[in-house]
Amino acid sequence: MKYALLFNSEGGESPDEAEVAAAVMSEVDQWWGKYSQAGAILGGERLQPASRATTVRFGGQSPTIVDGPFAETKEAIGGFAIVEVPDLDAALEMVKTWPASSSVEIRPIWED
């Protein structure tokens, strides 16, 4: 099964590089390295703060371009990983040891 892990952080902002404590960053690196080496992580990225997003909205006569994220929420996606593991329990096992973020959403990916 392939899953997208969506790492959410609180405050509606994904934290700036500088704001993330060095200790946490090194734990994140370790976690990422461990599961990349095991072949579970296929890819992923850290995202810049949601305030730097540009949103294109459809529905009107022509698309409108809005500055900022799609929705102002308490939590925002601060990064994501695409993983391939045997099943949901394996994904849960990985996520439980994730050192940062206030929550992680595990979304199955459509596969043909």
Partner: protein, 379 residues
């Protein structure tokens, strides 16, 4: 074109959908790159390609469904494994319950619907969604990892507890169910204990079920009225079953993993072993309720504790406690019936009548209603 695809793939919905898709795609492609020389052939090819795509995807799903657990499996381990799958925390409690009943206990959709007073369509939909969720989210069919076993077992036990209560509390001679939820919950708990013999809470839950079932005869009069514990004929209880349940609870206690199910079973055991309502060890029951509240702060448990408080400290203290719970449990009929009993003992008959009436308004259970009417008339 629909018919052509239908002949080829023998699936009407699919054929129709794919033709629709092809037409939509045609409009998009033709708008940007012009109408092809043979538009009919273009459409058929596009539709066929889409049908193949979808069939492939569907076969993938069916292959996965074929790997997913069969409806009923033989042997204890398989059933328990299936129970862990059905009670996976990625499923809602309602889905867990419906799926466990359908897949593990082998209830029909109609039986589940009648036990929970919901429509068959709702049950069927809930089960279909849950099965899809199992396949789509990749919920595995195996025992949880040792590190997760305790927490995952909690989910299974919570579902069994709900299942049992539904059967036990709603059971009455007026509503004959063709399957007994309570007995089946006890049977599944027994299975869990057999496969996981060192899990004290599973043993506690099984002991609790057995202690309740051992006292089923005696709960209802010949006319189906609920008989209060204080007035039950204790000679109707199954003494042998009580003894073996207490022994089981004892073995659980030796594992030194205290928990809410063991405490509830211990309270049930105090009642089951007492020769009469008056000769019950109420101070011990009160202490057990205090421990239970430490682990599981809940207003319903506090209400049950208030009854023990009544016997230990008197009606005034108990009524004061019940009044404190009234704000949170205002819609719970047992709060009002307990309040009514306490008011009656304190000579507040008019208030007691109003409380019984309120309780009557809040429950549909025929046995409870008939009991409440009897209490109102016995003033």
């Amino acid at each position: 074109m629909v018919a052509a695809l239908l002949r080829r793939y023998g699936d009407f919905d699919l054929a129709e959908d794919c033709t629709q898709d092809a037409l939509l795609a045609a409009v998009r492609v033709w708008l940007s790159s012009g109408i092809p020389q043979r538009p009919g052939a273009w459409l058929t090819t596009a539709a066929r390609r889409r049908a193949l795509d979808r069939l492939r995807r569907r076969q993938g799903l069916q292959a996965k469904l074929a790997q997913s657990p069969p409806a009923v499996v033989e042997g204890g381990d398989d059933r328990l494994r299936l129970m862990f799958t059905c009670c996976h925390p990625a499923l809602s409690r309602e889905a867990q319950l419906a799926l466990t009943l359908r897949t593990v206990a082998g209830f029909t959709t109609r039986q589940i619907a009648s036990a929970f007073l919901i429509s068959e369509a709702t049950v069927a939909q809930r089960i279909v969604r849950a099965k899809r969720q199992i396949v789509d989210a990749g919920i595995p069919y195996r025992m949880p990892a040792p590190a997760d076993l305790d927490r995952r077992l909690d989910e299974v036990l919570a579902v069994l507890y709900l299942m049992f209560n539904e059967g036990y509390l709603s059971s009455s001679w007026e509503v004959p169910h063709d399957r007994d939820l309570a007995e089946d919950a006890a049977w599944l708990a027994e299975l869990a204990v057999r496969v996981l013999p060192r899990q004290a809470e599973a043993m506690g839950l099984l002991a609790l079920f057995q202690l309740q079932l051992a006292r089923v005869r005696g709960r209802f009069s010949d006319t189906g009225t609920l008989i209060r514990l204080a007035e039950q004929d204790r000679s109707l209880w199954d003494a042998a079953a009580i003894t073996s349940a207490v022994e089981l609870l004892d073995r659980a206690a030796h594992l030194r993993q205290p928990g809410p199910y063991q405490l509830q079973a211990a309270i049930a055991a105090c009642h089951a072993e007492a020769p009469s309502w008056e000769a019950t060890d109420w101070p011990l029951i009160l202490r057990l309720y205090d421990r239970l509240l430490d682990l599981q702060p809940s207003p319903v448990i506090r209400l049950n504790r208030a009854v023990a408080l009544w016997l230990v400290a008197g009606a005034v203290a108990a009524l004061a406690e019940v009044e404190r719970l009234a704000a949170g449990l205002g819609q719970y009929h047992l709060l009002h019936s307990t309040r009514g009993e306490l008011q009656r003992e304190l000579g507040l008959e008019a208030e007691a009548q109003a409380s019984f009436q309120r309780a009557l308004d809040l429950t549909l259970n025929p046995a409870e209603r008939s009991h409440l009417r009897a209490r109102m008339a016995s003033a």
